[in-house]
Amino acid sequence: MSEEAQPGTPLLVVYDCMVFLQGLVRKSGPAVACLELFERGEIELLISNEVLLEIQDVLTRSKLQRKFPV
């Protein structure tokens, strides 16, 4: 992070696909903490269609679906 957010103004953040993937399927850890920052409204998440498609692509891989159907 290169800047501090002003009080009351959430910091703008971009997450890599893996942060979403690990944050959703793990019980705890840095990625979970990152998603919880967003859920608490402490950051504003910037996300592109490419990242969303990548997340969807990975989660619907047959390898993962066979193990853990979503």
Partner: protein, 86 residues
Amino acid sequence: MTITIDIAPEKEKKLEERAKSSGQSDVAEYVQKLIDKDLELSPSLRELFAPVREDIKASGMTDAELDALLEKAREEAWQERQAEEK
């Protein structure tokens, strides 16, 4: 409705810090906003994926194994996209 709860000193300190960082000086007001937010929101992504996490826990898969599985799936997806673009 009035609710009285006991909050451990270390949690009280964190709440004060969070209230301050979100521009509120009053912890009670901050907690009220947390309650409002919770009641208004539809299930979060984390909540929606709770059954998946339970399945993973039941499988006995370690975090390292899970990370490796995700990395492999991501790599496969990337390789396929690269092949399609050529």
